[in-house]
């Protein structure tokens, strides 16, 4: 696209001011997305942001591309229809843990199952914010919220486990506090062909402040984060080098140099593994027993649903010829009523394909 104008970050900021609470993690994500967009080489009119309902879902109003703020939970279905109908578009879906995993859970897993080529940014703050503090499907059991004054009894979903379980071809995780890293992950998602889920651990400063502190805290993050790199051993920690080893079929944290453990014993990350088993192991690794894995869990190539639909249309057009109305109307058995007084009818054809 040589005629694509060079765009800058500010070309993607709409005239509407973001109205999230001061200190909200959403602002940082918006910033990162605005920074990434001009690097993709996609003209602005071909980019569409689709969202559901929730704090995160206000996002499209703040982007100067096309945008559709839809209804609670249904953004994935709307984005699917949009992408199928218009596969040239770069479709980005913005959703939260309640929107994507609770009311929209069905559409979430089915978008993944089809591998529709949309980029799905899941802002996970483990709380319902816009409705002012009720527990979400990712809130930990026991969470005290307005709707659970004695602690929630629900077990929580892992967005990663759910995505990998539905065989997501791309799943990555980032945090709102590290914008450069987030940008690099967004670029990876943009480059992926198929449903790309990016879970952003995002802080709700009002109703669930510090929910991801264990992972994001500057002082401890090198010990508590596992940065995934394809082909590299899963090693973390600055002062003490630790790693992930497989004990039977259970991952465990080991310290390098202790009990004769060397780098050779450590699991090597393979985001391209065709089976999702390794990515699923990663999805089960949670605080405080494990560091929080960040980065690309899985990125495998697979045909996208939108491509396949259009390929099928093309193949059948080649086989049957471009559809013409006259041919359509006269498919199946037809007959002619003649104007003569005899009113003799003639069966024209009995060779239609469409009975």
């Amino acid at each position: 696209m040589s005629d694509t104008p060079i765009l800058s970050k500010k070309d993607f900021a709409s005239e509407q001011d973001a109205r999230w609470c001061p200190g909200c993690g959403d602002d940082a994500i918006l910033n990162a997305v605005e920074a990434v967009m001009p690097t993709l080489g996609i003209p602005k009119e071909k980019i569409v942001f689709v969202s559901g309902i929730g704090c995160s879902s206000r996002f499209p109003y703040y982007m100067a591309s096309y945008g559709f703020h839809t209804i609670h939970g249904r953004a994935a279905a709307i984005a699917t229809g949009l992408k199928i109908s218009n596969p040239d578009l770069s479709v980005w879906m913005i959703s939260g843990d309640g929107d994507a995993l609770s009311i929209g859970g069905n559409h979430f897993i089915h978008a993944i199952r089809r591998n529709i080529d949309i980029k799905l940014l899941l802002f996970n703050n483990e709380i319902y914010g816009l409705t002012k503090s009720q527990y979400s499907p990712t809130s930990p059991s026991g969470q005290v919220t307005k709707s659970t004054p004695y602690g929630s009894l629900d077990r929580s979903f892992s967005a990663a486990s759910l995505s990998i379980g539905a065989e997501a071809t791309f799943f990555a995780r980032a945090v709102d506090t590290e914008p450069k890293y987030l940008q690099s992950i967004l670029q990876r998602a943009a480059a992926h062909q198929g449903t790309a889920i990016v879970e952003v651990l995002q802080n709700c400063v009002i109703f669930n402040d510090g929910a991801h502190k264990w992972t994001t805290d500057r002082a401890s993050r090198s010990e508590n984060q596992l940065r995934l790199e394809h082909g590299k051993p899963m090693i973390f920690g600055d002062t003490v080098k630790q790693g992930i080893r497989l004990n039977g079929i259970t991952p465990e944290v080991v310290t390098l140099g202790e009990n004769g453990i060397t780098e050779g014993d450590i699991l090597v990350h393979d985001e391209k593994a065709s089976e999702p088993t390794l990515a699923y192991f990663l999805s089960r690794m949670r605080a405080p027993d494990f560091p929080t894995p960040l980065g690309v869990f899985r990125a495998v190539e697979a045909p996208t649903y939108d491509q396949q639909i259009h390929q099928q249309l093309e193949d059948i057009k080649v086989k049957k010829g471009d559809g013409q109305l006259r041919k359509l109307f006269f498919s199946g058995d037809t007959w002619e009523v003649k104007a003569s007084a005899e009113n003799q009818n003639e069966a024209l054809s009995a060779g239609g394909n469409h009975d």
């Binding site: 009119e45 591309s65 109908s85 559809g323 009975d355």
Partner: protein, 623 residues
């Protein structure tokens, strides 16, 4: 060969009945297609249970396992499948028992004698054999060992007995072809295509068909054969279509006329699934059919496709429409074109899913949150579905609004002879796109229609945001301004009302004023039309107005109603249109309601007309 009397009939009604696995729908539709092609006008009533293969011979009430297909063929306009069959083909005692109650005395019963075993009679609840106990004395009985004769005819074929037995429906069809002097070729051609990959089954069915034909010819079972002369149809090319097929054809045509890609987002539901099946065939026309994970995803995907510039459709039945209502309100709010087809069935809830009803009208008109007016159209007969699909698309695109199309199970599965239009004579559907990026405002409106212009992603310079939050007039920016909300609500309502200025005035069949106006809508068209013309033939002061446009109502309807002393509204519900008319026009219409999962008989409407006329004050009767 026996020479028979050939009796000419102007119309005849035949019902084929058997168990749900007996192939009665197929037999009936084969008879129908052949009759259409020899030139008869016709109307059909397929009537089948929800069970796919229910146990042999079980009666309704226990499990409605009997499947039937009724067709009326004639040489004069045939608007209904017939009140009472002249002939019943019953493949077993249960089919006989269930259907006998609608058979008038003197009718012909063609029975498969092989199935009248003690076991089957017992299953059907017969205490004694109706063939011998005199209970069928008032009927003309034709008994044939249909199953046994089919097995005999196929004796030489290397097939299992159950496969051979399954051909008995074609044996029965062969008998009917001889009786009504129809050619076999169209059905043999169909068999060859259907069983192209299983030549042995093709051979078996063809043998059974011709064996039945020749058996009827030689066995001297029938006193006479019948001739139903071709109808005086308008010259032109014809094909038979079901309502669901006609909708599919109409939608593909509309997309071509609008030069838009066609997108169907849907989820399987009886009796709407055939729209999906039909549209899935036509990929060479660029039709995208998307079977979503649920009803909500189906409408949402369609709305996404509409936002992306497709002519977007979602098809469903009543329960599915309930699930779609939130997304419909979003379509109303964002002013995007969308067609929702509701093929109504007997409800509420799962109800009787394979039976017809008109009970979703109020849901279509009012079943959403907020002030959310929507355009509602209804199909009247299978062939009308084509025209309604075109009009729905025209309105959706011109006014930038979702449109609900109401069909029903009776129209969807029924068939009619469709006069094939000349594609070159069809009107184009104009899509209004903005052209000047500088002047572009997402919610700026066309003065005549109040429709906004349709800028779609990919159009450079027109990037904009829409959504469910209230929009500022013209700019579309989020606005919580109270006066703006009222203004936008009013504009959305006015826009729908504007549609009435663009559609024809309501036509009336019969006197321009008089004692009684019968107002109907949807699938009751045929019975109401037939009853009204019958009454008119007897000199009664009755007129008929059949509504396609249910919202907005035709602009002359209020005035029209005042020209008659009384209005009668027959509906397959508890008076939903009647309520709407009473609210709109401050009138008190008479209602005639039926909620049995079956269409009106002509007789029932006629009785309603007579009762309505009789209820008028005497002085009025003297007018």
């Amino acid at each position: 060969m026996t020479t028979k009397d050939r009796i000419e009939l102007d119309r005849v009604t035949i019902r084929f009945a058997g168990d749900s696995g007996d192939g009665m729908q197929l037999t009936g539709s084969q008879f129908t297609n052949t009759s259409a092609i020899v030139g008869n006008d016709l109307t059909t009533l397929p009537d089948f249970p929800a069970e796919i293969r229910s146990p042999v011979g079980i009666l309704p009430g226990v499990s409605t396992g009997v499947s039937s297909f009724q067709v009326q063929i004639g040489e004069i306009d045939v608007y209904t499948p017939g009140d009472e069959p002249d002939v019943l083909v019953a493949m077993n005692p249960a089919a006989l028992k269930v259907n006998l109650e609608v058979m008038p005395k003197g009718a012909t019963l063609i029975l498969d004698l092989s199935s009248f075993t003690i076991r089957n009679l017992d299953k059907a609840g017969y205490k004694s054999n109706p063939l011998t106990d005199g209970s069928l004395d008032a009927y003309h009985l034709i008994q044939a060992e249909i199953t046994k004769l089919t097995l005999n005819a196929l004796e030489q074929l290397d097939l299992e007995a159950p496969d051979k037995t399954r051909c008995k429906n074609f044996f029965a069809l062969g008998m009917m072809y001889w009786m009504y002097n129809r050619p076999l070729e169209l059905s043999t051609g169909w068999i060859e295509r259907k069983f192209a990959h299983t030549p042995l089954l093709a051979e078996a069915n063809k043998l059974a068909l011709s064996a039945g034909y020749h058996y009827a010819q030689t066995a001297d079972l029938m006193p006479s054969t019948f001739e139903v002369r071709p109808a005086q149809l308008e010259p032109g090319f014809y094909r038979s279509v079901s309502g669901n097929q006609a909708l599919a054809l109409g939608l593909i045509t509309a997309a071509k006329q609008a030069d838009l890609p066609l997108f169907l987002g849907t989820y399987p539901i009886t009796p709407a699934s055939d729209i999906l099946h039909e549209l899935s065939k036509y990929k060479e026309y660029g039709v995208i059919s998307f079977q979503a994970e649920d009803e909500i995803a189906a409408v949402c995907a369609a709305l996404g496709a509409s936002y992306g510039g497709s002519l977007a459709i979602t098809s469903t039945s009543g329960p599915g429409m309930s699930l779609k209502s939130e997304a419909l309100s979003l379509a109303i709010k964002t002013e995007l074109p969308l067609i929702l087809i509701d093929v109504q069935r007997a409800g509420p809830s799962t109800g009787i899913p394979t039976k017809t009803e008109q009970s979703d009208l109020l849901q279509a008109l009012y079943g959403r949150h907020g002030e959310s007016p929507i355009c509602v159209l209804a199909c009247s007969r299978p062939t009308d579905c084509f025209d309604v699909a075109l009009e729905a698309a025209q309105i959706a695109v011109q006014f930038m609004t979702p449109v609900i199309v109401l069909s029903d199970g009776y129209i969807a599965n029924g068939t009619g002879s469709w006069k094939i239009p000349d594609p070159d004579q069809l009107k184009p559907i104009i899509v209004r796109r903005p052209t000047d990026p500088e002047a572009f405002k997402p919610y700026a409106r066309d003065e005549a229609t109040l429709g906004r212009s349709w800028a779609i992603p990919g159009m450079a310079g027109f990037e904009h945001r829409i959504g469910g939050l209230e929009s500022q007039n013209e700019t579309g920016n989020i606005s919580y301004d109270p006066l703006n909300h009222e203004l936008m609500s009013q504009l959305r309502a006015d826009k729908i009302q504007r549609i009435a200025e663009f559609v024809p005035e309501q036509a009336v069949l019969g006197p321009e004023s008089g004692k009684l106006l019968v107002i109907s809508w949807g699938g009751t068209y045929g019975s109401v039309y037939s009853a009204v013309t019958q009454a008119q033939g007897e000199g009664l002061s009755v007129a008929h107005a059949h509504l396609r446009h249910l919202n907005p109502l035709p602009r002359n309807l209020g005035e029209l109603i005042t020209r008659y002393q009384q209005v009668l509204v027959p509906e397959l519900n508890f008076g939903q249109l009647a309520k709407v008319l009473n609210i709109h026009y401050g009138t008190q219409v008479k209602t005639l309601n039926k909620l049995q999962g079956q269409p009106f008989k002509i007789r029932e409407i006629r009785d309603g007309i007579d009762a309505a006329l009789a209820s008028l004050p005497l002085e009025a009767l003297d007018v």
